[in-house]
């Protein structure tokens, strides 16, 4: 799929932008802090209805506009082509004052002019984004990796977002009950209801994550092998907090670099096992007043040649692994949805040697639409630049350097 037209109002440092987008590689050139990354963020926002950065959704509303106690609205409108159909997607971010000093961010999504619930609009338009700060996915805390996987799954599995939010709701209810039982005592049998709900929703999430990690690993492994000249084998190890696989005798923790195959597990098996485990943990969980297992505590580790990259990876290794992961996401999304996602790559060339650069560019040219940022256009071969559209990004404005395109 690809964007035909994009219009942005009050998003980050863009006051107003209205631009036609060609179906090919677009080079965004400009100094730092001019809006290159914000442009990628805006496009990604249309796919995920959230920023790729954690907890910044309200900051994307242009802060000059959002000053004072008046209402502030950021608006993104994309017209895009997906297969044979053309759609219009509009995301409005409304920062409205509540009470005396608070502000609340409300999101509205319109698909072809019709208002839709946010979780139904996610996945209609697909994009994969790479920015250098995303090395946090590998080095950062486990929630970074869960968020990464959740955002990718949300775009691919239509029911994922809703299930995830329902799981969160069930989890809050169960934790509230555990706390009540801890503080005031009461009928422990009530837990059964929430165990049931939690494991029903949780098992769906676990199963989707098992499959996603496995499929992503298949693509990432191949790409990484190529990117490292065959010197590194990349693995993604999913470590579910509730592991539906029976532990070996004596509960010896599994070695991280031992591949574990969970692909044959059935949904019912996971759910039954999950419920049983919650049952076993009941006394402990009441004592602690909180749910101790489940997707909210899952972990995904990335390993190169058996070494945990989060703990031992060098900067270069991590960047390369991240790129492999992102390219895998592109392939995975393409396989799952039948369409190329729009590719958004920020400063991706700097870390690569000449050979890798031309390999990557050759791959990107196969896709439908790519937005690439660079501070220096000379990083690209003249032949590549000729094929691409070059846009100058300066202080929140975008100029097409090759207007005939």
């Amino acid at each position: 799929m690809y964007l035909n037209h994009l219009s942005i109002t009050n998003f980050r440092n863009f006051a107003r932008l209205d631009i036609d987008i060609p179906r090919r590689v677009i080079l965004l050139v400009g100094d730092n802090a001019q809006g290159k990354t914000s442009l990628l963020e805006a496009v990604y926002f249309l796919a995920a209805c959230t920023s790729f950065q954690t907890n910044v959704d309200r900051q994307v509303v242009n802060f000059l506009e959002a000053k004072g106690d008046s209402l502030a609205v950021a608006r993104l409108v994309a017209e895009f082509q997906k297969g044979n159909s053309r759609h219009r997607l509009e995301v409005r971010l409304i920062l409205e004052p509540i009470g005396s000093n608070g502000k609340r961010l409300r999101k509205e999504v319109l698909v072809d002019g019709v208002k839709k619930p946010v979780n139904e609009a996610i996945g209609l338009f697909n994009a994969v984004v790479f920015v250098p700060q995303m090395s946090q996915i590998i080095e950062g805390r486990p929630e970074e990796r869960r968020r990464y996987l959740d955002l990718a799954l949300a775009q691919v599995i239509p029911a994922y977002t809703r299930t995830l939010s329902e799981y969160g709701q069930a989890l809050s209810q169960r934790n509230a009950l555990l706390k009540l039982l801890n503080e005031r005592g009461g009928d422990v049998d009530q837990l059964f209801v929430w165990d049931e709900t939690l494991s029903r929703l949780g098992s769906e999430i676990i199963l989707w994550r098992i499959r996603a990690v496995q499929e992503l690993e298949r693509f990432a492994g191949r790409t990484h092998h190529r990117l490292t000249n065959g010197s590194e084998i990349l693995r993604l190890a999913y470590q579910p907090s509730y592991d539906p696989l029976p532990k070996p005798e004596g509960q010896i923790p599994m070695e991280l670099d031992t591949p574990v195959d969970r692909s044959n597990l059935k949904l019912e098996e996971i759910q039954i096992g999950f419920t049983e485990r919650l049952n076993q943990l009941r006394q402990e969980e009441i004592a602690r007043g909180v749910t101790t297992i489940g997707p909210q505590r899952d972990e995904i580790r990335l390993l190169a040649n058996g070494l945990d990259l989060g703990d031992y990876g060098s900067r270069g290794q991590i960047r390369t692994a991240l790129l492999s992961l992102k390219l895998a996401e592109v392939e995975w999304m393409k396989e799952r949805t039948g369409h190329w996602p729009v590719i958004l790559f920020d400063e991706v060339m700097a870390e690569l040697d000449l050979q890798r650069r031309s390999d990557l560019l050759a791959y990107l040219e196969e896709s439908e639409q790519v937005l690439l940022t660079a501070t220096d256009v000379n990083m690209f071969a003249p032949g590549f630049i000729e094929q691409a559209a070059v846009w100058d990004v300066q202080a929140g404005t975008v100029k097409n350097r090759s207007p005939e395109a």
Binding site: P117, E120, A159, A176, L177
Partner: protein, 202 residues
């Protein structure tokens, strides 16, 4: 900052506690009543007092009824099938089911759903009286008609567990597509549920 006279502020505060009323609507309503003819305010006040004095809850099913009556119309009616109980969250749900004209059993109103976040457990609802009713043995079938929300489902699940051991037949309202609805416009989860709950044609 100008302070409102105490009686006005008290009214605004009271109105604000109503569901769906924010601070703005509350002050608008309060000022409307201030300016309205005297009998408008008096009528409202009377209606509110009557509400508490003249309305009572049926001792059998906990539906609303007029004060002085121990049991509501439905519970006293000999035409209604005492063998079927429909369990609902609120009295308003009884009204909705009555409007269908297609239900001839009796009711049981829970007055809420289980929600630990709000501190509502089974003991805060009319669940014990329900179990006592079923234990008396007249009932063959209990229809769980709580809302298809997470808390409604959880309450149904809990009731099922409690009632199952009494040997009564427990059913849950079907969920699926609205009549006269359009498949195209149904939301995903409704459609998924409808698909899962499909029935053989006969």
């Amino acid at each position: 900052m100008m302070l409102l006279p105490d009686p006005l502020q008290k009214l605004i505060n009271a109105l604000e506690r109503l569901p769906g009323i924010g601070p703005k609507s509350a002050s608008r309503l309060a000022f409307f009543l201030l300016r309205a003819p005297e009998d408008a305010a008096a009528d409202l006040a009377d209606a509110l007092t009557d509400l508490k004095e003249k309305i009572a809850f049926c001792q059998e099913c906990f539906n609303i009824t007029e004060a002085g009556r121990e049991r509501c119309e439905v519970c006293e009616s000999p035409q209604r099938d005492a063998g079927i109980l429909c369990v609902v969250e609120e009295a308003l749900d009884v009204l909705a089911l009555e409007r269908t004209g297609g239900y001839f059993g009796k009711y049981h109103v829970l007055h809420g759903v289980i929600s630990p976040i709000e501190g509502i457990g089974p003991d805060d609802l009319k669940i014990k009286p329900l179990i006592e009713r079923v234990e008396r043995g007249e009932v063959n079938e209990v229809i769980l008609a709580t809302n298809p929300s997470m808390e409604g489902d959880a309450t149904a699940l809990y009731l099922h567990q409690q009632l199952e051991r009494l040997g009564v037949n427990v059913t849950r309202l079907a969920r699926g597509l609205p009549v006269g609805g359009d498949l195209e416009y149904a939301d995903q989860s409704t459609l998924l549920r409808a698909l899962a709950g499909r029935q053989a044609m006969n």
